[in-house]
């Protein structure tokens, strides 16, 4: 590992910048929900008309995905790296 630029400060070395990214994300979320009442929908399914359907679906889907992968799938399938050797 060379040290050509190891002392240089990079953008995410500063915790304030990481915090700004998070604030940006939260701001975008609020904005996207606030925008919804002003958009005229033309849904195929009834549930698409519920407020925040996509937001809730995306959030819940990802949480369930991670929990299922971590607590159900991984205990079944995890093996040492040299399992097949």
């Amino acid at each position: 590992m060379s040290t050509e630029n190891s002392d240089k400060k990079h953008i995410f070395d500063n915790p304030a910048n990481v915090r700004n990214v998070l604030y940006g994300l939260f701001g975008a979320l609020v904005f996207l929900l606030a925008l919804e009442p002003f958009i005229h929908k033309h849904p195929y399914f009834a549930w698409e008309e519920w407020f925040g359907f996509y937001a809730i679906y995306g959030f819940v889907a990802c949480v369930l995905l991670v929990l299922a992968a971590k607590y159900i799938l991984r205990p079944f399938v995890k093996r040492e790296e040299d399992y097949y050797d």
């Binding site: 590992m1 990802c62 399938v77 097949y84």
Partner: protein, 588 residues
């Protein structure tokens, strides 16, 4: 006068010259192959077909329609990108294998008959193999052999189906087949193996991560997408494909979340993306077939872009596991940027290629009122963002700094990634270009306010879930471990079979030897040897009883046994037997 040369010929014959050339000439020559071939292709009319009579069959080695053209265009583009990418990896084996591989894929999409189709289909497997073996590690050798076994099996299933189908139909032309007889089921499954259907998918997640840096870029583009083309050509509107596709979109994302090897994460998400295409083909409407073709086009670009960025990471750091990576944006900022563009595209962010193609498939499912399918695809869309959209760039380029201070990827790799990244955004911003080359006329409008809002909500709240899970420490930490998949069946199964055969058959063999050779034969030999003497002794006993005393009886019995063993009997006894024998004959 030949005014047209089919792409497969240019690629495959052209590849053979590559090892003879050196330096810049070689580079220029390799780059010229896809470009020349592309100009030939755009000069040709839709509907052109070459017919050749061969052994009484009407072969059609080259046939162009709008479906094959979509795949033809993207295969040209991505092979050009792949060649540029591999210029910094000086390996003739990979160049030749890559070109033959791309040429075979082009051969398949422009094949007009089942025979030509099958020949190129098999060449695809054989040439892909060298892109895996070229890594020259033990793991890649073993993975290559497994790859070969699975595809040889798939090829035989397909061949059996094709032969039965030809004898049913009395024609070898390639067109709509549809599921209706055992032959068509065999063809269906043979193609399904190359499309990495669930349970038949492990050749992909097994072999692609073991291939070379450049090999993975080629591999990710051709084999599965050729199968997508083949299914779109022969089985559009086949309902089982909808369900197969839906399962394909959903199950790999669970594996991708806990996988440590980044290229294996990409392999799982490749299966997930091909699932969307399967659903599109299965629905079979003009919109959905367009969607499948458009998604294949977009997918090839962003998936190879992601494989290129991970390849550059391997090329520079020698590492690919998430546990060994992190913080690379500091030393490889351009690679990080291109990877992020690929990640945004695969997640289908508005203004990227994934958004304008994937939404066609989802819309087609909604048009057909397939609520379960639609909800599964939506789940998969959120999931793919989670593992390919966030996990890949985050764990490689951001996150915990693993301390790698390396050089940025070489220029040729950056140029290749730049071209792919450009197209990812270009297609997203200007979808008309993509829509104009699709098989059917398109009246689909991707950018409507509710659609953009819905997609952004879905993705951003998935990002929120990732962020919260990561900050709370619930997100599964990357672990140095591998995860079992269905390939367990043949990887351990092979050994299990061996052991069962060893323990079972060899034990059986040993037991038989002990019982039969060791005990039975000895006993039998003894029995046979002593039987006549024993019999004689029994017969003579009543006479001896009266004639001899005890000591004489013993000597006479021993003498009898000795004689019986050596075969010498007193003549009178033999005479006695003879008389009994003839007497019996007379009586019976």
């Amino acid at each position: 006068m030949i005014d047209f040369i089919p792409p497969a010929f240019i690629y495959i014959l052209g590849a053979l010259l590559v090892p003879l050339l050196r330096g810049r000439v070689k580079f220029a020559y390799m780059l010229s192959l896809p470009i020349v071939s592309f100009f030939f292709l755009i000069s040709v009319q839709v509907g052109t077909a070459w017919e050749v009579n061969f052994l009484g069959f009407d072969l059609m080695p080259f046939k162009v329609d709008r479906l094959s053209l979509v795949f033809g265009y993207i295969f040209h583009l991505i092979s050009l990108v792949g060649i540029i990418y591999t210029l910094s990896i000086k390996s003739d084996l990979e160049y030749v294998a890559g070109l033959v591989y791309a040429g075979s894929a082009l051969g398949v999409v422009f094949a007009g008959d089942l025979f030509t189709f099958f020949v190129f289909w098999e060449m695809l497997t054989v040439s892909a193999l060298w892109l895996i073996w070229a890594k020259r590690t033990k793991a890649s050798q073993a993975a290559g052999f497994r790859y070969l076994m699975v595809h040889v099996f798939g090829g035989l299933v397909l061949l059996a189906g094709i032969i039965m189908y030809i004898s049913e139909q009395k024609s070898i032309s390639l067109g709509f087949i549809g599921l209706h007889s055992p032959a068509t089921y065999l063809i269906f499954i043979g193609m399904g193996i190359n499309a990495a259907w669930p349970l038949l998918h492990t050749w992909l997640t097994d072999a692609y991560p073991e291939s070379t840096v450049g090999g993975a870029v080629f591999l990710s583009a051709f084999t599965t997408k050729t199968a997508v083309y083949a299914l779109a050509r022969t089985f559009p509107g086949t309902e089982p494909l909808i369900w197969i596709g839906a399962v394909m979109t959903a199950f790999p994302i669970f594996f991708a979340v806990i996988e440590n090897d980044m290229r294996r994460v990409l392999s799982y998400s490749l299966i997930n993306q091909v699932g969307f295409m399967m659903v599109g083909i299965g629905i079979g409407t003009e919109l959905s077939i367009n969607g499948a073709a458009a998604h294949a086009f977009a997918h090839i670009l962003y998936k190879s872009l992601l494989f290129m960025s991970m390849g550059a990471v391997i090329f520079r750091t020698g590492k690919i596991n998430a546990t060994d990576l992190g913080g690379l944006y500091k030393s490889m900022p351009w690679t990080a940027l291109f990877c992020s563009i690929g990640a945004a595209s695969i997640s289908a962010f508005p203004l990227t290629s994934g958004f304008v193609s994937k939404s066609m498939v989802l819309d087609a499912a909604a048009h057909g009122h397939m609520s379960i399918i639609w909800l599964t695809l939506l789940f998969a869309s959120a999931g793919v963002f989670h593992h390919s959209g966030i996990k890949i760039p985050f764990f490689a380029f951001f996150g915990h700094d693993a301390g790698h201070r390396v050089k940025e990827a070489p220029p040729s790799m950056l140029i290749a990634m730049g071209i792919a990244a450009f197209f990812c955004i270009f297609l997203g911003v200007y979808p008309k270009f993509l829509y104009s080359i699709l098989p059917y006329p398109v009246d689909f409008v991707p950018y409507t306010a509710p659609h953009v809002l819905a997609q952004l909500q879905l993705l951003m709240f998935s990002a929120l879930a990732f962020t919260l899970l990561l900050l709370s420490g619930i997100y599964p930490s990357e672990i140095r471990a591998i995860n079992l998949d269905v390939d367990l069946v043949y990887r351990k199964g092979g050994r299990l079979f061996y052991r069962v055969m060893d323990k079972g058959l060899n034990a059986f063999n040993r037991t038989v030897e002990q019982v039969f050779v060791g005990k039975f034969l000895v006993a039998f030999a003894k029995f046979v040897r002593e039987l006549p003497a024993k019999l004689l002794a029994k017969i003579c006993w009543p006479f001896w009883q009266s004639a001899f005393d005890a000591a004489d009886k013993k000597t006479i019995t021993e003498n009898l046994l000795k004689r019986a063993q050596s075969g010498f009997y007193p003549i009178s006894i033999m005479g006695f037997f003879a008389i009994i024998y003839f007497g019996l004959l007379y009586l019976l």
